[in-house]
Amino acid sequence: MTAPLPLSGVRIIEPGQVWALPYAISPLAAYGAEVIKLESAVRPDSSRGSPQPDSQVGDQPWNNGGMYHEANRNKLGISLDLNTDRGKELFKELVSVSDVVAQNFPPRVMRNFGLDYPELRKIKPDIIVLDSTAYGSSGPWENYIGYGSSLQAVTGLTYLTGYEDSGPVQGGILFNDTLGALNATYAILLALAHRERTGQGQWIDLSQYEAGVAHLGEAFMEYEMNGVAPTRRGNSHPDYAPYGLYLCAGDDGWVSITVTSDAEWANFVRAVGEAWASKRDWETAESRLSQRKSLDEAIGRWTRDKDKHEVMHLLQSGGVACGAVYNTRDIATDAHHADRGFFEISQHPEPVGSRPHSAPLFGLTGVDRPPDRLAPRFGEANRKVFQELLGRTGQEYDELMDQQVISDVPANPGVTPPPDPEELLRMGFLAERDLEYKSRLGI
């Protein structure tokens, strides 16, 4: 027996950019919400163009970017110029028939448009408005801007990432955008739950700075309890050894091995099955920790001529926590993800073609989630929204087009030619350019 989609009948307007907001809304769209993504022709979502299929800028490149398709499936797309009076009027009309407005401009933008929460609730008293900002909608930094990379630094994560003997390191590209997105999804669901039971809407002020610090609670508690700011410790753990990465065979191949109990160490010794591992000195946690260096060297000698995947499966079968250091190719082609259907292939028009995208991060096993609908082309749902939903006539629609209040084509697509992959490879920015990737992905 399957239940209706939990968000069916909920309409969300998403004036959202890049990742932190669009990705927050994407599971809500997958589970039934009608999401209207709103862009302006002058400043379309800058994720639309990247990365281009096979690094070739084709026709309408703003409809072809991989990151855009990852975060915007199952949504409707409209364009609306909020700088115009008619644009603002149409936005308010849309709000009057919607449940949620979720946006990630800095606080001054919607305020200057006269479209912030105090204004919108006059039009729709039970509206839910989420403002996702870098630093929150008040305080001395309220108008400061930040991207995922900036947030990683200001929240303390950058300082706490890196090698023990070297400076702070940025992890990944825009990590904190996803962190902000996951928190925004939860906040909207809470507000919908409250409205479901009481009929009351509300305003959510999400500061990605604050959300990021909340994910470092124990680091903050360390400072609060002992007055010393914690610092970087590479991949090591204060209480356990072995706990680290070990070099394997092949180009830049690594495996992680972590042993967090004496029983798990016994599993390790049994799985390795070689004399060097059964050293009496290493049977207790204290001795392994104090002899961490010689232990790591011995394990490194054992792994260095072995394949990272083989080490992982050998040790895991023996009951040891172990994982190969995966690159994006390893992830996209891993059998476990295929077993779970984590990547789902969608068929797009050329030049995109068929591509895998990831499923929502929470699986509701009691509902039948319908197959994904493609992310909208720029302005794709203009007619549906402005004529069918808001009742504009064909003539009025054409006028809005002529006055460029709405548009089917971005005035400023913002798609720049990507760097030549061969040059990036030569300079060391890429590990590999895999010419067989499509056959590996089965697309």
């Binding site: 929150g136 950058t158 390191v169 906040a187 739950a193 609060e224 002992n226 992830i331 720049t416």
Partner: protein
């Protein structure tokens, strides 16, 4: 007095360590009545994880446990005994939600799989958060934060070019799993209230960690490009740069144009046409580094932060926990909360990740001592 969003939602919490407790903390902080069930012999293993005041281990003084378990009541039950399981089933009968974070084999082996629990309570939402998810060939594999960072692809692209990959500090994957599990729980409750029925929610912490890759993952699936740890050329734009005092992250951002960036940084040489496009800048990144790295040393990180923000560039200082503790922005917004706990006294804790105007985060009740609410909850169940 305000309502809470999850008022009257009763949650049985069988979680331990970080991801599961963070999920139930998020439910509890926004109003759910969370009953944390711990094993009688020692309780949640997080009680033995640091930090501790004075670095001395004590089961009621773990900083991570105290942080992750605010607003919950705590009881002890031995789920390996018939009596313990019977008490749990009694609790489940009246609950709306059960959250568990065991390895997927454990609940069925205790006779507490979703099928059994849903017979006791057909409207139950059961949320299972695990390292690899409820199915798939790695379901029973073991994990740690480092193993998850290896498998999620984040370690491979993080660190210095010639050195080993490195994970993010602390337990980022666990927290992401916790938030996704909280979302799944409330989405399932919403479905139930809107005419649906109970169901099981499945969250894989690994998948949550993979979702943070977004740009590099599409680089592979759209173009076959495999990212790695980056060479140091171009690091003056991407990585923390030493200043006169502290490190700054001098992000040019995607919106700002390059000529304005050059003017803001007060380095006119950067306006040379050979640096015009992002692709040009990547190719000439070594030259850009030479120009900028010397420049960053002329001001402190704090000065560069405010200077660049006035020009609308998203620079940020590389903060330590001491900086965060003294942050004027966080202080102005009243972010930190402070309350007493019987074992550690009054401490400051990080507050809400987001502010809700009508259903704000609850006033904090400190984390429970082991078995603190045994009598109260058992009596409540029999009333």
């Amino acid at each position: 007095m305000n309502d809470t969003a999850l008022k009257d939602v009763k949650v049985i919490d069988l979680t331990q360590h970080i991801a599961g407790p963070y999920c139930t903390k998020l439910l509890a902080d926004y109003g759910a009545d969370v009953i944390k069930v711990e094993r009688p012999d020692g309780g949640d293993p997080a009680r033995r994880m640091g930090p501790f005041p004075g670095h001395e281990s004590h089961p009621e003084k773990s900083g991570i446990f105290l942080y992750l378990n605010t607003n919950k009541r705590g009881i002890t039950l031995d789920l390996k005994s018939d009596a313990g399981r019977a008490s749990l089933l009694e609790l489940v009968r009246d609950a709306d939600v059960l959250v568990e974070s065991y390895s997927p084999r454990v609940m069925p082996s205790l006779g507490l799989d979703y099928q059994t629990l849903s017979q006791v309570n057909p409207r139950l939402v059961m949320t299972s958060v695990s390292s690899f998810g409820r199915n798939g060939r790695y379901r029973d594999y073991r994990a740690s934060e480092l193993v998850l960072y290896a498998l999620c692809g984040m370690a491979y692209i993080t660190g210095e070019y010639h050195r080993e990959p490195v994970k993010h500090g602390y337990n980022q994957a666990q927290y992401l799993g916790g938030v996704a599990a909280a979302s799944g729980t409330v989405a399932a409750l919403l479905g139930l209230w809107r005419g649906g029925h109970g169901q099981q929610v499945d969250v894989s912490i690994l998948e949550c960690a993979i979702s943070t890759l977004f740009t590099t993952f599409s680089d592979y699936t759209y173009a076959g490009l495999v990212s790695r740890r980056q060479p140091s050329q171009g690091s003056s734009l991407r990585y923390p740069a030493p200043t006169k005092e502290g490190y700054i992250l001098p992000t040019p951002g995607v919106m700002g144009d390059w000529a304005t960036y050059a003017a803001m940084a007060e380095v006119p040489e950067l306006q040379d046409p050979k640096f015009a496009t992002p692709a040009d800048r990547q190719l000439h990144s070594g030259k850009i580094d030479d120009l900028l790295k010397a420049k960053w040393l002329e001001k402190t990180a704090e000065e560069w932060f405010h200077h660049a923000q006035e020009w609308r560039f998203p620079f940020s200082p590389v903060n330590t926990m001491e900086d965060i503790s003294g942050s004027l922005q966080l202080e102005d917004r009243g972010y930190f909360i402070e309350f007493p706990h019987p074992a550690v006294g009054t401490l400051r804790y990080p507050g809400a990740s987001f502010r809700m105007s009508e259903t704000p985060r609850r006033q904090a009740m400190p984390a429970p001592t082991l078995g603190q609410h045994n009598e109260e909850v058992v009596e409540g169940a029999t009333l």
